[in-house]
Amino acid sequence: MIEIVAETPRTRTLLLDVPGWPGHRAGQHVDVRLTAEDGYQAERSYSIASPPEEPRLSLTVERLTDGEVSPYLSEVLHAGDTLELRGPIGGYFVWDIPAGGPLLLVGGGSGIVPLMAILRHRNAVLGTAKERHRLPARLLYSSRRWDEVIYRDELARLAEEDPSLEVRHTLTREQPEGWTGFRRRIDREMLEEVAWPASEQPRVFVCGPTPLVETVSTTLVDLGHQPALVKTERFGPTGGAI
């Protein structure tokens, strides 16, 4: 554990030096295991935030109020500590350049983490404007408030430097003064405006709380996108009646 970076009031990025790390693909995750002095163990999965090009592995952890592992990772752990992890894991929710584009990423809250790995990977590999324009990307990112937007400044910088990357935010609970962006949960109208038409066959990655992923993936299929091109990763409880 090399360094901890505060991203938002409730999220931290852990930068790790992992000897013997075999490399990974954007979108994969690791399993983290914590062991207490008496041998009690807890395991959880965390998406890898860093692209394969970065030598240090980074995980961005959101502190869940009644979490068992996330409060430890975001508050107790400090530089110099060791963390036991296993990975990389996952062969489905992954994207690399050969998968092509256009690329549509839709995220909510901490669902941005694997999507950020994908954007960072795209940025690291596609060096010229020509390459980037051949594989354009759009991110639609839902957060509650402006100060809860993870990677906010980096996303702004990436979009500014790369005209083939478009980043659109929606803030669902509170918006800063003068806000001209979306101010509601992602819905069909928003997706019709932001997403490429189905005829362009974008590779779609949706990640976040289940209700958001359900709405977005169902709507995209209704709009004509092939289900096989809409990859989903759902975090957290169902939020439904069950």
Partner: protein
């Protein structure tokens, strides 16, 4: 060998809970939804369930025919490979034993392996021995109500003693096979068998 995590205490469960949790799991009172891709929507009017034998013979039921078969209710703990476990989940459906005995009347003989095939293209493989003897069902009711689409409705395979990715959502067919063949997650790095009590999450786990 475990690395000790400085300062980690964790949340201790009661002895009763701890005994029911397989290694690496935690209890949830929610019912998380995890699926590879969008939720398929299938009309009951066109839904069929098929059992296919190795000789190509099939037994097929429409929704009305299937749900008229003798049903069972069962209450089980379920364990997801993403680490959550949920206790005392209540299901209603048709036991695989019932399906096999109905299919035997059509000349379909058992074979050692089964591939479950589902709307949306999902597949998973299970040895037949893990589906018989009261261990598995095709379930269409959860908690006394029709199984919702996000949780696999109209019907899903239910094999509670294995990690829940084996309880294939939106199941439409069980195909008997002489040889084992990996399904969707099994082909993407997950364990071929998936016993939560031996923590067989990923390929290569003992």
């Amino acid at each position: 060998m475990a690395t000790f995590s400085r300062g980690f205490r964790g949340r201790r469960q009661s002895a009763e809970t701890a005994g029911r949790l397989p290694p690496g799991q935690y209890e949830t009172k929610d019912f998380p939804v995890l699926s590879a891709g969008p939720t398929p929507r299938t009309s009951l009017a066109t839904w069929t369930f098929t059992l296919q034998g190795t000789n190509g013979q099939t037994a097929r039921w429409t929704w009305d025919e299937f749900t008229a078969l003798p049903r069972q209710t069962t209450t089980k703990d379920i364990h997801c490979v993403t680490k959550w476990s949920k206790f005392d989940t209540m299901w209603e459906g048709i036991s695989i034993d019932t399906i096999l005995s109905e299919a035997a009347a059509k000349g379909i003989q058992p074979a050692p392996f089964v591939l479950a095939r589902c709307d949306g293209g999902y597949t998973t493989n299970v040895p037949l021995a893990d589906l018989t003897g009261g261990k598995a069902w095709v379930a269409f009711m959860y908690n006394g109500a029709p199984l919702p689409p996000e949780h696999g409705g109209p019907a899903r395979l239910l094999v509670p003693h294995l990690y829940f990715w084996k309880s294939a959502k939106w199941v439409r067919e069980l195909r008997l096979m002489e040889n084992d063949a990996p399904g969707f997650w099994e082909s993407l790095g997950y364990h071929n068998y998936g016993d939560p009590w031996r923590e067989q999450r990923y390929a290569g786990d003992e």
